[in-house]
Each structure stands twice: as structure tokens, then as C-alpha cells.
Amino acid sequence: MQTQTLTRKIETENLSVFYGSFKAISDVSVEIYENNVTALIGPSGCGKSTFLRSLNRLNDLVPKTAVAGKVLLDDTDIYAPSQDVVDIRRRVGIVFQRPNPFPMSIFDNVAYGPRLYGIKKKSVLAEIVEESLRGAALWDEVKDKLDKSGLALSGGQQQRLCIARTIAIEPEVILMDEPASALDPIATLRIEELIRKLRERFTIVIVTHNMQQAARVSDYTAFFNMGDDRAGYLVEFDETDRIFTNPQQKLTEEYITGRFG
């Protein structure tokens, strides 16, 4: 069902990540297309979260992490010495599994990032907050209580608040690490619908344990597995339609049909 022409936003070239002497992922080469949703699926321990976190250098925060290979963002290697990691994380935002609003008002949660980047004018902040909350499909539910604590919202609302907080600094790419696994089914579907909408403005990479969710939300799917050396590797990458109707690898078929994993 893809019709638009594809622009490569991120490309990894033989990416391997090590935690000390342990190789977590091995030689992953994949292309992430702009304004598309790419889902990373695979059994536990296959390295999909490690791969995700390597796309905005979040792994740098883990001691003894080493990276081999390249991660190109708009054709520039984000691990090159000249790169500013703060800038990379502004361009490539992330949303986590557990909604983690800051213990402050809804307004301040969303305004936090823009303030950090030096925006002080109240009217500009208010505009960004409204725009971001609308973008996260939360505005109508919270517009009358922006001064209430973000922690007072329901789980699904909190996750949408976190998404609003992420898009407030206008990233180019949004990484999502199991963004709906702590939510009930309806809140989950709401997040999924939001992801479909966000792809019009952003490039999205999502890790999910839920294969059906990958099938519903993504345009492309990458299937990872754990090798004999326990290092994760990429088994298959293709259009989601194809992965879920006619995968090329037997291992992919076995995984998505629930035969292993």
C-alpha cells in the first residue's frame, strides 16, 4: 500500500554494539525511510532495543558500550567525533515503554524542552504547547486543566503527554520503545492511530513485542533474532505487507506465526 517515493532518513552499515565483551547486536545493515513507520520485532534478547537506542546514541549512557559500523542520519555518521550528541538527541527523540511525565504541570511537561532550548516568551510557549498537545491527540482532553499535574492523567493520556513533550522540540525522527505495552487495549489503539498520524510529519521507528501491533502500525518491518553467540542480528527487512503475507525467510514465518520465540 506504499505509494510515495522513499527517502532514506537513517541508514545503519554493519552496526555492531558491544556491552563490554558481550556483543549485543551484530552487523545490522538497514534503511529507515522518511515519513514511514518502521517496526522492529523479534524475541526477547534479540537486540531490538539496543539497536533502537543506538539510533540516537542513548547507549552512550551505558558504561563500557562500544559501537562498530555506522549510523547515518541524513548521510552523516552520528558516531563521528565531530557530532554533538545533544543535537542528535534533539533531532532523534525517544518515547519509552512506561509513560514518564515529569512531576510538574501538563503545560510545563510539554514546555520543558522548548525552555531548555531557550524559548522564554510565554505566548510562544503556549503556542508550542497547544500545537504539540494537538499533535499528540491530547489537547481536547486536557485543554481546561493544563496547570494540573501530568501524573494525574490516565496511563494512555500520560503516554500521549510524553509524545507531546517529544514533538514539542520538533525532532525529525521519533524512536518508540514499546510505547503501548503498559496500556489497556483501547489506549493502545489510540496510540497506534496517533503513530499513523505522526508519520505524516516525522520518521518513526518502533520496537514492539506485539507482532499484531507491528502489522497494524508500520510500513516496514525488521525482524531480529538472537544468534548462537547470543548476539542479535537482522533476519529480514521488508514492507510490512510482505512480511505478514509472504515473508522470504522461514525463520520470519515461524516467528510471526507463533511457532517460536
Binding site: 483501547i186 499484531q212 497494524r216 505487507d241 505478514f244
Partner: protein, 229 residues
């Protein structure tokens, strides 16, 4: 609040409207085939045969979309029944278009030979079958069981006309064996039209399934015509 599954809804709507579009193309093919027959327009007949490819393509497109929707959206209940109904409706439509192309081929075979008899009952059969097809799409889109059952009942009108055509042509052939070829042409056309109407009833059975979840043959729609009597 935004609808929970807007994209899924859009996919289902796109499939629905493609089915309706396919039925429109089939209806046009039937209409043009009868026109080619009545006016002995060989060019028109050849065009119908060539255009059949587009209808086949649309069938495969709809089936691919339905397959992808099952794999990606995990439809259940009414949504699942819709997809399953569509999977059986589109082959029926495609075969109806084949019948129209069959009529066009016979029109070409007949060439400029004078018709054995004036075309009266065959155009009536075609008109009823076309109405049934149009109505079946209305019933499909409205998920209207009562309308679907009403359309199924109309198949008897087409069958009755076909039996009449059959008897008449047989008597021609008995009287003068030289008419056999030309009589057979007309009989084949009648057969194609009768099959088209049968296939509409199959679509209507799927509408009943879509509405009620029951898969069953509607009484009286056993499609085999009792010509042997």
C-alpha cells in the same frame, strides 16, 4: 476524540468501494455486450473482450488488499465477515465479466448472419440480470438482508425466460436442422445471461452472511435449471 481505528476503517471503506466499482464495470460490460450483439458491432465486441483484463486486475487488487488487511489489522466479527464476503464476491464478479466477454465472442462469431429470430427474451434476461446486479451492490453496501433475499427471488424470472428461450430454440432446430448453428449461438448467450443472474444470487447470499453470519444456500437458488424435464 479521534476515532480509534481510522486507518483500518479507511482500508475497509476502500475495499468496499472497489467492489462497487468492479460491479459497475461488470454491469457496463454486460450492457455493451448486449449492445454489440444487437447492433452486430464487432469493434465494440472486441473492446469488451480487451477490457476484461481491467476487471481481472481489479479483482486481484481487491484480493491483495483483503489479504493485507487480514494480516495487518486482525479483523474480527463484522469486519472479518466483510473481508470474507468480499473474497467470495469478487471472483463471482470476475466470472460475470467473463460471461459478458463470452457474449461478445458469440456476437463476433455470428458475424453479419441474420439472427435466427428477433432478440426479445435475451435482452429482457440481460435487463433483469443487470438490475439484480445493481441492487445487489446496494444491498451489499447497506448490509440489507431483506433486499438481498428479494433479489435472490428474482432469479426465477431469469430462469423462466431462459427455459422459454430454450424451448423455442429447440423447436427451431427440430423443424429445420440448418438452424442448429444459429440456434446454438443464441442458446449460449442465454446460458451466459442465466449464469450471470445465478452469480448475483451468490453475491446476495454473501450479503446475508455479512449481515447474519450464516452461510447457507437460499431455498430455490440451486442454480441448476431443470431443462431435462
Amino acid at each position: 476524540m479521534t476515532p480509534t481505528r481510522a486507518e483500518f476503517e479507511n482500508e475497509l471503506n476502500a475495499i468496499r468501494s472497489n467492489v462497487t466499482r468492479m460491479a459497475l464495470l461488470v454491469n457496463t460490460a454486460i450492457k455493451k455486450a448486449m449492445q454489440a450483439l444487437e447492433t452486430r458491432d464487432e469493434n465494440l465486441a472486441r473492446q469488451i473482450i480487451a477490457d476484461d483484463r481491467h476487471i481481472n486486475d481489479l479483482r486481484f487488487q481487491i484480493e491483495a488488499d483483503a489479504l493485507a488487511t487480514i494480516a495487518r489489522q486482525q479483523p474480527v466479527a463484522g469486519d472479518l465477515r466483510l473481508i470474507i464476503a468480499v473474497m467470495t464476491i469478487v471472483p463471482e464478479l470476475e466470472r460475470m465479466a467473463d460471461h459478458a466477454a463470452g457474449i461478445a465472442k458469440i456476437a463476433i462469431e455470428m458475424g453479419k448472419e441474420p439472427p435466427l429470430k428477433p432478440l426479445i427474451d435475451l435482452p429482457r434476461m440481460a435487463a433483469i440480470a443487470q438490475e439484480m446486479l445493481t441492487d445487489s451492490m446496494r444491498a451489499f453496501n447497506a448490509v440489507d438482508t431483506a433486499a438481498a433475499k428479494h433479489i435472490i427471488a428474482r432469479d426465477d424470472e431469469v430462469d423462466a425466460l431462459y427455459e422459454q428461450v430454450f424451448r423455442e430454440l429447440v423447436s427451431f432446430m427440430i423443424e429445420d436442422p440448418h438452424t442448429v448453428t444459429r440456434a446454438m449461438y443464441l442458446l449460449f448467450i442465454g446460458h451466459n445471461l442465466e449464469r450471470i443472474a445465478d452469480r448475483v444470487t451468490n453475491i446476495c447470499e454473501r450479503v446475508v452472511f455479512l449481515a447474519e453470519g450464516k452461510i447457507e444456500e437460499t431455498p430455490g437458488n440451486d442454480s441448476a435449471i431443470s431443462l431435462a424435464d
